[in-house]
């Protein structure tokens, strides 16, 4: 746990934790509203977004790509609504039509444009590069107080921390309307709450979290964190506040354990190469959900006898 840990493991773990928190928070409400797969749809359309941003600006820079991804996410949400309303198609199928089409368009654009010289490919968008977000200037724990070394922190860390803080603040601020409209939309509407705006705001927050996270940690973690920790938490408790708390615990646990298993697990087993941290974080989140499915105290539907 010395200098090497600070150099190579501290920042990726922190970034993973922030990404997990930013995605798990809106995920709680998406699950209650049966919109869990919107995170999946958004993370697929991130690809065309960054490709278009690259084609317009000609550079692989962070901000244009984030803007492109965010724009693509909003376009996708809009198109899903359009297809759903104009075609009178059920939401799941409408989502499936839109995100697969946009993803196919993204892949085609990527093949058409000359991106071989730059680091832009499908696998990167899927798997992120968590392992590469290291803090080389650190010389030990003392570097946390050294302003020069701190200025060499990977920029993703600050960005992800800000995103997580923003999502956290928004959740705290809109707690009551979110809670009401997620559990009982009719009642919320009767109280005069702008239900549609709340729904749209939630989806936008989810898009912000997904877009901020995909660059650092890849789409797999984003989808996994939107769904697995909140779903596991839902099987633990009936209380929304506690559910959100548990989901954060599970998200942080997945991020830490996943990174550690990916980096050191193969060494313990005698292999020499580490494995994908993004994949491992998702896998750990899945195992946590499996345990919750088996042993969670609130796992059964209300009114359904155990074992039926």
């Amino acid at each position: 746990m010395g200098a090497e840990f600070v150099q190579f493991s501290l920042t990726p773990i922190l970034i993973g934790i922030f990404a997990a928190i930013a995605c798990a928070l809106p995920g709680n409400f998406l699950i209650l509203r049966r919109q869990a797969l919107i995170g999946d749809a958004i993370s697929h359309v991130v690809l065309p977004g960054i490709v278009v941003a690259f084609l317009i600006t000609g550079v692989v820079a962070t901000w244009p790509m984030l803007m492109g991804a965010a724009a693509a996410a909003l376009v996708a949400v809009f198109l899903i609504e359009v297809v759903r309303r104009m075609g009178k198609i059920e939401p799941g199928a409408a989502m499936g039509v839109v995100f697969t089409s946009l993803f196919a368009g993204g892949v085609l654009l990527l093949e058409q444009s000359d991106t071989s010289s730059v680091h832009l490919d499908v696998e990167h968008a899927l798997m992120g590069n968590l392992e590469q977000l290291i803090w080389l200037r650190a010389e030990g724990w003392g570097s946390l107080l050294d302003p020069v070394a701190l200025s060499y922190l990977p920029p993703e860390l600050l960005r992800m921390a800000v995103a997580a803080a923003l999502i956290g603040a928004l959740t705290w601020l809109f707690w009551r309307p979110l809670k009401l409209s997620s559990f009982d939309e009719g009642f919320a509407r009767a109280l005069g709450l702008p239900v549609r705006t709340i729904g749209l705001g939630l989806v936008t927050a989810a898009a912000v979290a997904a877009v901020a996270a995909f660059d650092a940690v890849g789409s797999i973690i984003v989808i996994a964190m939107f769904i697995c920790p909140p779903a596991a938490a839902r099987l633990i408790t009936n209380h929304l506040g506690r559910q959100v708390g548990w989901s954060l615990v599970f998200a942080v646990l997945s991020a830490i354990l996943g990174y550690v298993f990916a980096g050191y697990g193969p060494l313990w087993l005698g292999a020499s190469n580490s494995v994908s941290a993004a994949g491992m974080v998702a896998a750990v989140a899945g195992v946590i959900l499996l345990l919750a499915c088996l042993f969670g105290p609130a796992r059964h539907r209300v009114g359904v006898a155990a074992g039926s």
């Binding site: 049966r34 075609g87 199928a93 499936g96 039509v97 697969t100 089409s101 892949v107 058409q112 797999i220």
Partner: protein, 401 residues
């Protein structure tokens, strides 16, 4: 253009022809198989199935290498992917049945966990000495480069098998997709048919892995059925139309992609299907956007015409621009706002219609008929000539019955 036509009619070389035939069959199987899922409102289950294939592919490679084989044998990889996709499918089923999580959460959980596991296995394989050239990443987006005859035969044979299975099971699957409760009452084992439906989807996914990849196979399972729904209201027709749309997308897409090197097969096939979807969304005669706009416009015209004529009959001025335009266009109104002779006749007819309705609603006993008064429907459409004579008698008698 001629290169495209060549490819379309299998003249662009042996390999391209193989790909085109395989893609058409796969598209047909995917469209028809996906229809049942779509009609059952479970379209996105295919997303979970597709992503759950990845760990199976990785494990199959590792096992085959461990047994001393090449590791890249397609049949082995597909068998592995089928097993892990089946496990993923059962996991979705189990979660929905045994816990209170809704199906979309279960789908997302399985999808991300299995995919994460698959990516971990891919990095393990990259670390193996034999794994450098494994090319398993091709299964993400599909690849037709270097497709062998036996691969194409596998795809074509698999597609044919799936279509046959759909043909044999079409009755119970349609029944379950359309109304599960009714099917259960008829003695159909809904759970087993559901699993059969899933097996069909799984077979399509596995067969399509090589050609379009696991991310885009979902598109072939969802877009053709959604498109077909615009053209048919009968479940059985939706299935076969979806098959044709999928097959067409596969065939045309494969031909298009054969014309240039930078046109990857999978995405092109999907985009052809998307194009067909957009055309259907806009121009379907019954459910399309254009048809809806025309119907709305016709309704609007009827309302404005009737209300305009009623206003004329009561000697009230008309201010609404649209009403004026409609009446003038039909020659019922002069430029200065006075009714023409035709217009006066129409006014009289409409006013009489309204009076008849008011008498009928007061006197007639059958509310199912009088309830059809909506200010638009002519009374002749609802009552027989005899009844109208009866109404007229009462009307002339001063409406007092």
């Amino acid at each position: 253009m001629s290169a495209f036509l060549d490819a379309l009619f299998f003249q662009a070389g042996y390999n391209a022809a193989l790909v085109a035939v395989g893609a058409a069959l796969l598209g047909f199987a995917a469209g028809a198989g996906g229809s049942f899922l779509f009609l059952r409102n479970r379209a996105l289950v295919s997303d979970a199935v597709a992503h759950a294939t990845l760990p199976g592919v990785g494990l199959a490679f590792i096992v085959m290498v461990a047994l001393g084989g090449d590791g890249r044998a397609l049949i082995g990889l597909l068998a592995g992917s089928a097993i892990s996709a089946w496990i993923g499918l059962l996991a979705v089923e189990w979660m929905v049945r045994r816990t209170r999580l809704s199906e979309d959460a279960a789908i997302g959980a399985v999808l991300s966990t299995f995919f994460g596991l698959g990516v971990v296995l891919l990095t393990v394989i990259q670390g193996m000495s034999r794994g450098r050239q494994a090319g398993l990443e091709d299964f993400l987006l599909g690849s037709t480069a270097g497709m062998l005859l036996q691969d194409a035969l596998l795809i074509a044979g698999g597609g044919l098998l799936v279509v046959t299975a759909i043909w044999l099971l079409r009755r119970p699957m349609t029944l379950v997709a359309f109304d599960p409760a009714f099917a259960a009452a008829r003695g159909v084992d809904v759970r087993r048919i559901d699993l059969a439906m899933m097996a069909v989807v799984l077979a399509v996914t596995v067969v399509g892995l090589k050609l379009v990849g696991l991310i885009l196979i979902v598109a072939l399972l969802i877009i053709p059925p959604v498109t077909a729904r615009f053209w048919a209201d009968r479940a059985e027709r939706v299935v076969w139309i979806a098959g044709v749309i999928g097959g067409l997308s596969g065939w045309v897409g494969a031909a298009l992609s054969a014309t240039a090197p930078a046109l990857p097969t999978g995405p092109i096939i999907v985009l052809v299907a998307t194009g067909l979807f957009v055309v259907s969304l806009l121009f379907s005669p019954t459910r399309g956007v254009t048809a809806a706009m025309i119907a709305r416009r016709a309704f609007q015209t009827r309302v404005h015409r009737r209300q305009g004529l009623l206003a004329l009959a009561r000697n009230e001025p008309i201010h609404d621009r649209l009403t004026l335009r409609i009446l003038r266009a039909e020659g019922l109104l002069r430029g200065d706002g006075v009714a023409t002779e035709d217009g006066q006749a129409a006014c009289a007819r409409i006013a009489r219609d309204e009076r008849r309705w008011s008498v009928a609603r007061r006197l007639h006993k059958d509310t199912a008929l009088t309830g059809r008064y909506d200010g638009l429907t002519p009374i002749d459409d609802v009552f027989t000539a005899d009844e109208i004579t009866w109404i007229d008698t009462h009307m002339l008698a001063g409406g007092s019955a």
